[in-house]
Amino acid sequence: MRDVVVIGAGMTKFGELWDKSIKDIFVEAALRAIEDAGVKQIDSMYVGAMSSGLFVGQEHLGAVMADYLGVTPIPATHVESACASGGVSFRQAFLEVASGASDIVMAGGVEKMTDGADVTEALATAADQEYEVYQGVTFPGLYAMIAHAHMKEFGTTRKQLAAVAVKNHRNGSKNPNAQFRSEITIDQVLNATMVADPFGLLDCSPVSDGAAAVIVASMDVAKKLKKKPIKVLASAQASDTIALHSRPGITTLGSVVNAAKKAYKMAGLKPSDIDLCEVHDCFTIAEVVVSEDLGFFKKGEGGKAAEKGLTAIGGKIPINTSGGLKSKGHPVGATGIAQIIELYEQLNGKAGDRQVKGARIGMAQNMGGSGASCVIHILESGK
C-alpha cells in the first residue's frame, strides 16, 4: 500500500440548521474541503450517512451529492455503518488511494436530523430490531445499561461521568463549529432531566444537523501541492455482535479492543505514543469505556481519569479537544469525518485556543450502534 495523506478539510457548523437542506450542508462542507486542498478535481467520493432514508426520505446519497456538487460522472458512493458511517467513509477513501486506484478522493459525511423524523426510532435501527428495539430499548437505554454495569463492577460514579460532559463542553466552547459553546457544571449534569438512568440529558450527545468532508491524496499529489503532509498511519475496523446482550462482557467494547489492536500494529505505535484522541462520546460512559479499551487507562479506571483531569487539554492524553459529540454535536454520518478534521487542525497547529502543544500523532475512534462497529484512524504530522 502507498502512503496516503489528508490535504484538505471543510465542515459546516453543527447544530439545528433549519434553513438548510441535507444537500446544502453537504455541498457547503465539500466545497470548503476542495478549496482548502487546492485541487481542481477529485477522482471519486464517498458520503457517509447513517439513515438519510428515515431522516429525510432520501437514499442514493452518493449520486445526489455528486450531482449537486457538480462533479458527475465521477464514482460516488453512500457508505453506511450506523454512527461509524463517517469513519468508514474515510477508510474507503484511504483504501482507494492506498491501493493506487485513485489519486485524490473525497471522504464526506452528513446527517440532517431535524427535518421531522422520530429521531429516537431512527437511531434505534442501529440496534437489533427484533430482539432489542422491539422490547422498547432506546440508544440512551443501551449505553445506560453499559453504565450501570460499569458502576457496579468498578465503582464508577455519576460524578465521574459528569466530568466527561463538563470537560467536553469546556473544549467545545473553544470550537467555532460546535453546536453548544457554553460551559456546564457538574451540578448541572447531575441535576438535568433524566433520560435513561443513570443518564440525565447532559450525559447524552444532542440531535444535530451537519456535514464534514476531507480530501485524501497520494504523497506525490501532496508534494506537488506543497502541503504539510498529514499522513494516515493506520486505518483499522472491527465488528461485534449487533445486540449488546450477546457479548461476553458488557463493560468492554470488543470492536474497540480489536480495531485498536490492529491500528497500533499497523502504525507501529503504543497508546503512550498518541498525543490526542477524538473518541465517540455519544454518551458519557462511552468515552470512559473507550478510553480504557484504547489502552489509555486500565480497565475500570476511565471514570477516575476523567475526574482527575487526565483527559483534559494539558492532561496525560487530551480526549475530544473538539468538544466531542457531546458539545460539538452529533450529526451521525458526519461525526467520523469531523473527528478527522479535528486531528487535521491539531496536527497542522491550527486549533486555536484548544491547541494541544506539540501535537504530532492523533487518533480518531468512531463507532456504530452499541459498539457493533468500530473504526480507528491514526494520523501523523509530517515535516
Binding site: G136, P140, G141, M145, K152, A196, P198, T241, H245
Partner: protein, 129 residues
Amino acid sequence: MITARYHREIPQRYRLEAGKCAKCGYVAFPPRLVCPKCKTKKFKTINLKDEGKILTYTIIRVGPDKFSKETPYAIGIVEVSDGVRLTTQIADVDVEKLKIGQKVKLVFRKIQDDGKAGIHMYGYKAVLV
C-alpha cells in the same frame, strides 16, 4: 409492522425457542443458521429456561413514540439459567428499587401495539421472583 414479520418471531417470543449447536452446545437465541463459535450448521431446537437474573438495567424516562405512554419503564439484560442473555422489559416492579443481580422469571405479556388499527404484539417480559 406487517403481520408476516411479527409471525416469523412467534416461536421465540411466545415459547423462547432457541437453537442448540449439535457440535459445541452453543445456544443461539434467536436461532441462527451458523454457529458463531464452531461454524457448524446443525442445530437442535430447545426451549430456554424461563428463570434468570438481572445483569444490568436502565429506566427509560424518554421513550420512542410507540412506548412514550409507558414511561418510566425498566429494561434490562437478563441471563437465563441456560447462560443465554436477552434484552427484556422488567414489569410489575417499583423501578426505583431495581438492583443488579435480582432474580427474575420470564412471563408472557403484551409488548406493543401497531398504531391505532394494527395488531397487538406479544412476547416476554421479566418479573421479579
